[in-house]
C-alpha cells in the first residue's frame, strides 16, 4: 500500500444558496479498494461526487489525488487525472455505434483529423473483451440493454486509464444475473488497482462488494467502517440516527371517516400497481420511500395526470374515475407537486393569478375575471400563509423557494379540497419557511382535511404523520404507525427484513 491514498478529501464543504449540502466531509479512497457511499436522499452523496468529478467547486476543504493537492478541479482535469463516473442512466449517443461512442470519449480528435476506423473498432473490441462483455463494436447503442450500455461506459473509463471509478446506483435497473456480471467487473477493476466509489441503496450489495463504507447524513460523514466490522442494523442506525433538530407541531388527531380509499389501484404506464390505502379526515398519512419508489407516480395517478387503469378509487365512499386533473379537482383532490418551478407555479405570472388558477370556475362565474375579488383572495392567502412578497402583482418567479411553495399551496387551498396531496413540500425550502409549512399542514389536518404527505425527509415524515405508508417498487409495502422510529421506517423503505411492526 502506497503512502498517499488515491483520493483524499479533507473537510470539504459546499453550500447552495442557504442550504449546506456538505459540511466538512473527510473521505479517502485507496487503490484497489471498493468504498461504498451510503446515505439517505439529500444526505450529500451527489454533491460529493460532483466535487470529485470537478462539476462543483468546494467552498472549503482540500482535495488530493495520489497525494497531489488540487486547487481548481474542472471536469476536463478530473478526466485527465483518471477519474470516471458511471451514472445510473448511461450518457451515450443512442444513434451511434459502440465503437463510435468509445472513440468520441477517448480519441483526442480535432475536426481535421481523419478517423482510423479499423483502429477504433479494434480498440473498442479490446476494451469490451477485457470486461468480458460480448458486445459487438458495430452495434448501435440504441439496441443495447441498460447493463450493456453501462459496460460500454465502464469500457470508456477503462480506456481512459481511469484510476478512480465512481458508480452511482449502477444496479438500480439491472436484473439479478446482470448484477452478478457487473460485480465481477467491479472485482476485476479492484484487482487491477483501480479505486471504486460505489453508491447504492441496496445494503446487501455493499456487504457483497465493498471493503469499506462511509455513511453520510445531513452533509456530514458519520463514520467510515470496514464492512467486516459492521452489520445492516448498524448501517441503518448510522443513516438515520440523528437528533430531532426541529420541533414538529403536535397532532392530536381526531380522525373522521375515511375520505380517500384506494383498492388495488395501478397504472401500467407509470409502474404503480396494487396500491390499497385509506386516508381519513383529519389524518396526515406520510408516504416514505426511496427516490423512484413510485410515490410521485402514485400522486400523479390520483390527480389524473396518468390515470389509473386498475383498481378502484373512492372519495367519501363513492367510487370515482379520475381521468384528468380537471376531474380530480372537481372531486376535491388537490396536488401540490414536487417540482414547483415547472408544475407548482407559473413563474412568469403574478402571485394573484397563480393563486386563482385552480378556481376559475368558482371565482369567475360566466368566465368574466373579477380583479377585485382575485386581489382580495390573494391578499388573504398572502397574510394567512405569511408569503413574503412585494404584493399580489409580483411574479411567481420573483419569490424564494419557500414562498413559491406557499403560493402553490394557496392555489390548492383556494379549491377547498377534501384531500390534499403534498409532494416534497419542503424540499429546497429554508428552515424558517419549512416550520411554517409544517404548521399550516397540521392546522389544515385539524380542520378536517385528509393529507397525503410524500417526503424524502425522514424526520419530516416521522414528525408530521399519523400513519406512515412505505412505498417500494411502485406499491405500498407496509403501513406503520405514526410513532414508528426512524430505523424501522428506513429498513422498510430499503426492503430489509425487520419491517412491519404495524
Amino acid at each position: 500500500m502506497s503512502a498517499a491514498p488515491l483520493l483524499e478529501l479533507r473537510a470539504v464543504a459546499k453550500s447552495f444558496g442557504g442550504a449546506r449540502a456538505l459540511r466538512g466531509v473527510d473521505f479517502t479512497l485507496q487503490a484497489g479498494e471498493v468504498h461504498a457511499l451510503l446515505g439517505e436522499n439529500g444526505a450529500g452523496k451527489s454533491t460529493l461526487i460532483k466535487i470529485v468529478t470537478g462539476a462543483h467547486q468546494p467552498d472549503a476543504g482540500t482535495l488530493a489525488v495520489g497525494g497531489e493537492r488540487l486547487s481548481h478541479l474542472t471536469p476536463a482535469k478530473a478526466r485527465a487525472l483518471g477519474i470516471a463516473c458511471i451514472y445510473q442512466q448511461p450518457a451515450l449517443f443512442p444513434d451511434l455505434t459502440v465503437a463510435e461512442n468509445i472513440g468520441l470519449r477517448l480519441e483526442a480528435g480535432t475536426s481535421l483529423r481523419t478517423i482510423d476506423w479499423a483502429a477504433r473498432g479494434a480498440r473498442a473490441l479490446e476494451l469490451l473483451r477485457r470486461l468480458g462483455a460480448e458486445i459487438e463494436p458495430d452495434a448501435e447503442v440504441r439496441s443495447l440493454s441498460m447493463p450493456e450500455q453501462q459496460l460500454v461506459e465502464i469500457a470508456c473509463a477503462l480506456g481512459a486509464g481511469a484510476r478512480i471509478v465512481i458508480m452511482d446506483e449502477p444496479t438500480a435497473s439491472l436484473t439479478q444475473k446482470e448484477q452478478h456480471l457487473l460485480f465481477t467487473v467491479v472485482r476485476d477493476l479492484r484487482a487491477s488497482g483501480v479505486g471504486v466509489i460505489y453508491i447504492s441503496h441496496r445494503l446487501e450489495e455493499i456487504f457483497a462488494l465493498a471493503d469499506r463504507v462511509t455513511v453520510l447524513r445531513d452533509g456530514e460523514s458519520v463514520g467510515t467502517h470496514p464492512v467486516s466490522s459492521i452489520n445492516e442494523a448498524g448501517l441503518i442506525r448510522l443513516m438515520v440516527g440523528r437528533e430531532m433538530t426541529q420541533i414538529y407541531p403536535p397532532g392530536e388527531a381526531t380522525l373522521g371517516a375515511p375520505v380517500l380509499s384506494l383498492r388495488g389501484v395501478g397504472c401500467t404506464a407509470s409502474g404503480v400497481h396494487g396500491v390499497s390505502l385509506e386516508v381519513r379526515a383529519g389524518e396526515i398519512l406520510g408516504l416514505a420511500g426511496l427516490v423512484g419508489a413510485g410515490r410521485t407516480e402514485l400522486a400523479r395517478v390520483l390527480f389524473g395526470l396518468t390515470p389509473a387503469d386498475a383498481g378502484t378509487i373512492e372519495l367519501n365512499g363513492e367510487p370515482v374515475v379520475l381521468r384528468s386533473p380537471q376531474a380530480a379537482v372537481a372531486h376535491g383532490l388537490a396536488y401540490v407537486p414536487e417540482d414547483r418551478r415547472r408544475h407548482g407555479v407559473v413563474l412568469e405570472m403574478p402571485i394573484a393569478e397563480n393563486m386563482t388558477m385552480a378556481v376559475h370556475r368558482r371565482m369567475f362565474p360566466g368566465a368574466w375575471l373579477r380583479f377585485g375579488a382575485e386581489r382580495s383572495l390573494a391578499l388573504d392567502y398572502i397574510r394567512d400563509l405569511a408569503v413574503k412578497c412585494t404584493g399580489p402583482d409580483a411574479a411567481g418567479g420573483s419569490l424564494s423557494g419557500g414562498n413559491q411553495q406557499k403560493v402553490s399551496l394557496a392555489r390548492w387551498l383556494a379549491t377547498r379540497p377534501k384531500v390534499l396531496i403534498l409532494d416534497e413540500p419542503t424540499q429546497g425550502v429554508d428552515v424558517g419557511a419549512k416550520g411554517e409549512i409544517h404548521k399550516i399542514v397540521r392546522r389544515l389536518a385539524q380542520e378536517g382535511l385528509a393529507v397525503l404527505l410524500i417526503s424524502s425527509d425522514l424526520p419530516e415524515v416521522l414528525g408530521m404523520s399519523d400513519r406512515i405508508g412505505i412505498m417500494r417498487g411502485g406499491t405500498i409495502t407496509a403501513v406503520l404507525p405514526g410513532n414508528a422510529d426512524a430505523p424501522t421506517v428506513m429498513s422498510a423503505a430499503l426492503g430489509q427484513s425487520e419491517k412491519g411492526a404495524a
Binding site: 395526470l305 384528468s324 380537471q326 407559473v346 388558477m357 376559475h360 368566465a367 368574466w368
Partner: protein
C-alpha cells in the same frame, strides 16, 4: 408615498411596447401626410381601413393562438378555400349570400377543428400541423376551381358589405370592430384569456393547475378558422370576386402584425391592442408608400425592417441593463458569506 408610485406607473406606460408602436404609427402618418397630398383625406383613411380588415381579422385571431405558444400558418389558405366554397354555395348551390356566408363560417370552424384535433389529439406541433393544412386548404381551393374558375357577379346587396359605407364607416369596419372588441374581451377579461397565457408560459404548469388545456387549444384554433371564414366573405365582397389564390401570404402578414404588436412568439406575453397597432403600422406604411409613389417592394423591405427594429428594441433595454450591471463594480461581499 404616492408620488414615486405615480411616476413609475407613468414611466411604465411610456416605456410600454404599445406606446412606442403608437408613436411609430403617428410618425408614419405625419410623414406620409407631408409627402402625399391625398394621403390624409377621409377617403384614403377609409381605403386603408378596408384594405386592412382581412389581415386585421387574421391577426386578431392569431393573437390568442400565439399566446398559447402555438402558430397557425393555415389561415391564409383557409381564407382562399372559404372564398371558393362561399362562391360555390352561392352560385352553384343557389343559396342566398347570407345563408352561404353562414355555411362558410361553419366550414371555417370545421377546418379549425381539424387543426385543433391534430394538435391536441395527436400532440403534433402546431407549426407542422398548420404547415400541412396550409398546403391542404390551398390545394383544395385550386382543385375545386381547377385553377381557373372564378366567382363574380355577386348581387349589390352583398357587395355592400365590402364596398359601401354604413352609418358613415366602411361596412366591414363595423364587423371588424365587433370582432376586435370580442377578442379583446376574450383575451383580457375572461378566464379563457388567462388560460391561454398560462398555457403559453407553461403548458405543463397549466395542466398541473387543472386547466382544461386541450379544450382551450381547441377553442383558439376553431376561432381562427371561423374568423378566417368571415375574412373570406368580406374579402370576396370587397373585390367582388372569389379566386383560389385569394389572400396568398396573408398568414405571414398577420403573424408579422401580431409580433410587431408585442406578442412573444414563445407564448404567454401579448395584447390584442398591440396587435391592432401592429396591423395599423403595416397598413399605413403600405398605403403611404403607394401615395409616395414608391414601388411595392419597398413596402416589403420597410415592413421587415420595422419588425426587426421592434424586436431589437424590445430586447435592447434588457441588454443595456445587463451591460450596466456587468460594468458596475461588483458589490462588497456580504458579512454572511465570509463566515468560513
Amino acid at each position: 408615498m404616492s408620488a414615486p408610485v405615480q411616476t413609475s406607473r407613468w414611466k411604465a406606460i411610456v416605456l410600454r411596447h404599445e406606446t412606442a408602436l403608437l408613436a411609430v404609427v403617428v410618425i408614419e402618418w405625419l410623414c406620409f401626410n407631408a409627402i402625399g397630398p391625398r394621403f390624409g383625406s377621409l377617403d384614403n383613411t377609409f381605403d386603408i381601413l378596408r384594405h386592412s380588415v382581412e389581415i386585421g381579422l387574421l391577426a386578431l385571431v392569431m393573437t390568442p393562438v400565439i399566446l398559447t405558444g402555438g402558430i397557425d400558418l393555415s389561415v391564409g389558405s383557409l381564407l382562399g378555400l372559404c372564398a371558393i366554397l362561399f362562391g360555390k354555395l352561392w352560385r352553384d348551390a343557389g343559396l342566398s349570400p347570407l345563408t352561404a356566408g353562414g355555411c362558410t363560417l361553419v366550414i371555417g370552424a370545421l377546418a379549425g377543428g381539424l387543426n385543433a384535433g391534430l394538435i391536441t389529439g395527436l400532440r403534433l406541433p402546431p407549426l407542422i400541423v398548420t404547415l400541412g393544412t396550409y398546403s391542404l386548404f390551398r390545394g383544395l381551393a385550386e382543385a375545386i376551381t381547377r385553377g381557373a374558375d372564378t366567382f363574380t357577379n355577386f348581387p349589390a346587396s352583398f357587395l355592400f358589405l365590402g364596398q359601401e359605407r354604413w352609418l358613415g364607416l366602411p361596412t366591414q369596419a363595423w364587423l371588424f370592430g365587433a370582432v376586435a372588441a370580442g377578442v379583446w374581451l376574450l383575451v383580457h377579461r375572461t378566464t379563457f384569456g388567462r388560460s391561454f397565457r398560462a398555457i403559453g408560459f407553461s403548458p405543463e404548469g397549466a395542466r398541473y393547475a387543472g386547466l382544461p388545456v386541450q379544450r382551450r387549444l381547441t377553442l383558439v384554433y376553431v376561432l381562427a378558422g371561423v374568423i378566417a371564414a368571415l375574412a373570406a366573405v368580406i374579402y370576396t365582397a370587397r373585390l367582388g370576386q372569389a379566386k383560389a389564390d385569394a389572400a396568398t401570404g396573408y398568414e405571414l402578414f398577420a403573424i408579422t402584425a401580431v409580433v410587431l404588436g408585442g406578442t412573444s412568439i414563445f407564448g404567454g406575453v401579448g395584447t390584442v391592442h398591440g396587435t391592432l397597432l401592429g396591423v395599423a403600422a403595416i397598413a399605413v406604411l403600405n398605403n403611404g408608400l403607394v401615395h409616395a409613389r414608391q414601388p411595392r417592394e419597398v413596402a416589403g423591405m420597410l415592413t421587415g425592417a420595422l419588425l426587426l427594429l421592434a424586436l431589437s428594441g424590445s430586447v435592447a433595454p434588457k441588454l443595456w441593463a445587463a451591460w450596466r450591471a456587468r460594468s458596475r463594480p461588483s458589490p462588497p461581499p456580504t458579512p454572511s458569506s465570509t463566515t468560513s
